[in-house]
Amino acid sequence: MPFASHRVVSDTRLRASRSLAPLLVALALSPSIAGAQTDYYNTDAGRPLAVEDALPLELRALELQLAPVRFTRFRGATELGFEPELALGILPRTQVEVGIPITVATSSSADAHGSSAVGLTVAALHALNVETSLPAFAVGGSIAVLGGESRIAQASVKAIATRTMPGVRVHVNAAFSVRTSTNGSDEEEVTFGDELSRWLAGVAIDRTFPLSSLLIGAELTAREPLGADRGTQWSTAAGARYQLGPRSSLDGGVGVHLTGPERGWFVTAGAAVQLYRAWRPDR
């Protein structure tokens, strides 16, 4: 689950996130983590596109998304989102993920503070089938709890379809969310990510270069951001995903919010590794 972000002015939390960031970077670089599988072919939401495919992590795989970073700029403000995440293929065709979204933002107005927020997301994805003459279908759900001066809890459900044709795959995603907030209002919150929205619909197309372990893709999404009557936000993005080694992959993307109050651009970058000795079932 990528970049659930929640901007609330809070110097305390900003300091907390600053102290947490080196820890997470250290974790990412820990030598106890040996490489990663992380198949370039199996895309995840936010890495690099918001629209993902219907392939879950394979059974018993354990993957750490090290540095999914998203930098957004609009109307002079900037936001840096970072969500380290652990994903596990816990059952056949089923993965669960736990992520810690961290957002650091600067305001466009001179008298405002910077802000930050830290949260927790738990998500699951279940593939209903394997692609045949039928597309691959998957369903997912997530719960996000995001901390700031107010706390937001959001529950989402998602449906995914993937159709593969020679050379290209087409993915369709549709997600709906419900939420609660401790202050009972959306008015003060600004969200830039793709998850905190009432609904999201998108289509993506990607092309695979199997001999190079490279995938490139593009998407068009529409979402209704949280907040009072913000209107539909149309976005488009393009990105690539590359298998670095048998257990590691890199991805990056760029995109534009074409409409809506957060009209602007964003870039994403990420890496994932498969954790070593994730499971020792018969010892």
């Binding site: 089938n129 593969t164 695979t208 009557d229 080694g245 070593y276």
Partner: protein, 374 residues
């Protein structure tokens, strides 16, 4: 935000989703799951120690995948599509500059993967076993006893997926080459068929130097010699290629003696590769029957009761088929390729209880030990 927009956008996504649905009534709902390889300290050791050989295996995966894809999607194409165009592409480009990583076969054999994902996943599961045993045998940190234990653990992990695992009981060659659809591929595409047999020779043959030799230097030299012999097989196709399916017990006898269960699994794997080629290549199998025939063959190769023969008979059968017809040994490799004693693609019949050769169903002897058979 109007209520209409709130409804229309998600519905548009759902409409797009529906648009990718096929209209065909025979759509299959398949739920076979992928599974991670067994995590262990020896993961990817072979790749690190013998990168050239490892990369060739990646190229082999491409060859298998593109073969099935073209057989399924271009049934009316001239034989030259595989025998010339794709063969040349494979041998002059893909094998010469092999991919650095294992391939995503679903991205290459797109339509074939949709036709029979169950079979594709069976192959992937067995290929993982292949690679993980290379890792174990290439890991110099492991004692011989530790290697045995690790191979046993890999086999147990492999068997933990009975929906994907090939049987560890030897199967009669009749299952591979005496079915109504048999021989179509080797007859129409002898070069490509020989290339696949060359792949299979190296895939089982490479175990032998890793098992036979004790020092790192000897092993490296042995692996190099095995790879060199594979290249020599491509020098004058199909004459220089294996003339029958390479059997593990013949090509890698030390490995097969130490790890018979793995050797049998690999022979069954390689047999089913040939079976699927025949099913796809044989126009007598209607297109609407291809999937059913593939799944039937897959079921027969998974079960422990169909076409089985004793392990001793399997060893005898491998010997009687003749190592000289399979590309030769994988260690102590003679300077020249052996002279086959049967015609290319010959089908020998065997007594299933003893493995003794009883005659020819296709092809004939051209000399040597097989000259007395008809």
């Amino acid at each position: 935000m109007s209520a209409r927009t709130r409804i229309v956008c998600p519905l548009t996504a759902l409409a797009l989703l529906a648009s990718v649905l096929p209209g065909r009534a025979e759509a299959q709902w398949v739920t076979t799951a992928e599974q991670m390889y067994l995590q262990a300290p020896h993961n990817w050791v072979f790749r690190d120690r013998y990168p050239a050989a490892d990369r060739l295996f990646n190229a082999f995966d491409y060859g298998h995948a593109i073969l099935y894809e073209l057989l399924w999607t271009r049934p009316d194409a001239p034989a030259s599509l595989l025998e010339t165009i794709e063969y040349d592409h494979l041998t002059t480009r893909v094998l010469k500059r092999p991919p650095r990583l294992p391939l995503e076969e679903r991205a290459i054999a797109v339509r074939y993967a949709q036709l029979a994902p169950e079979a594709l996943l069976m192959f992937e599961w067995a290929h993982l076993l292949h690679r993980q045993i290379y890792d174990v045998l290439a890991d110099a940190r492991l004692s011989p006893e530790a290697r045995d234990a690790e191979v046993a653990r890999l086999l147990a992990y492999y068997r933990s997926r009975p929906d994907l695992a090939f049987s560890a009981r030897p199967k009669s060659m009749a299952l591979m080459q005496e079915q109504p659809y048999s021989l179509a591929f080797r007859t129409r595409y002898p070069k490509f068929n020989g290339l696949i047999w060359g792949y299979h020779w190296m895939q089982v043959g490479l175990y032998e130097p890793l098992v036979v030799y004790g020092t790192a230097v000897e092993r490296s030299a042995g692996v190099l010699a095995t790879v060199d012999r594979f290249w020599l097989m491509l020098s004058d196709p199909p004459r220089t290629m294996p003339h029958v399916m390479p059997m593990t017990a013949a090509v890698a006898p030390t490995f097969a003696a130490r790890y018979p269960e793995a050797a049998i699994v690999f022979d069954n794997l390689h047999s089913m590769h040939d079976v699927i080629s025949d099913i796809l290549a044989n126009p007598a199998v209607p297109r609407e029957r291809k999937r059913a025939e593939i799944l039937r063959a897959a079921r027969l190769y998974r079960d422990d009761s169909s076409y089985v023969m004793p392990v001793a008979a399997w060893r005898t059968m491998a010997t009687e088929m003749g190592i000289e017809n399979m590309g030769g040994p994988a260690v102590n490799i003679p300077p020249t390729l052996p002279t086959p004693t049967v015609t290319y693609g010959a089908v020998m019949t065997h007594d299933d209880s003893t493995g003794k050769m009883t005659g020819f169903k296709h092809g004939s002897a051209v000399g040597g030990a097989h000259s007395g058979h008809h």
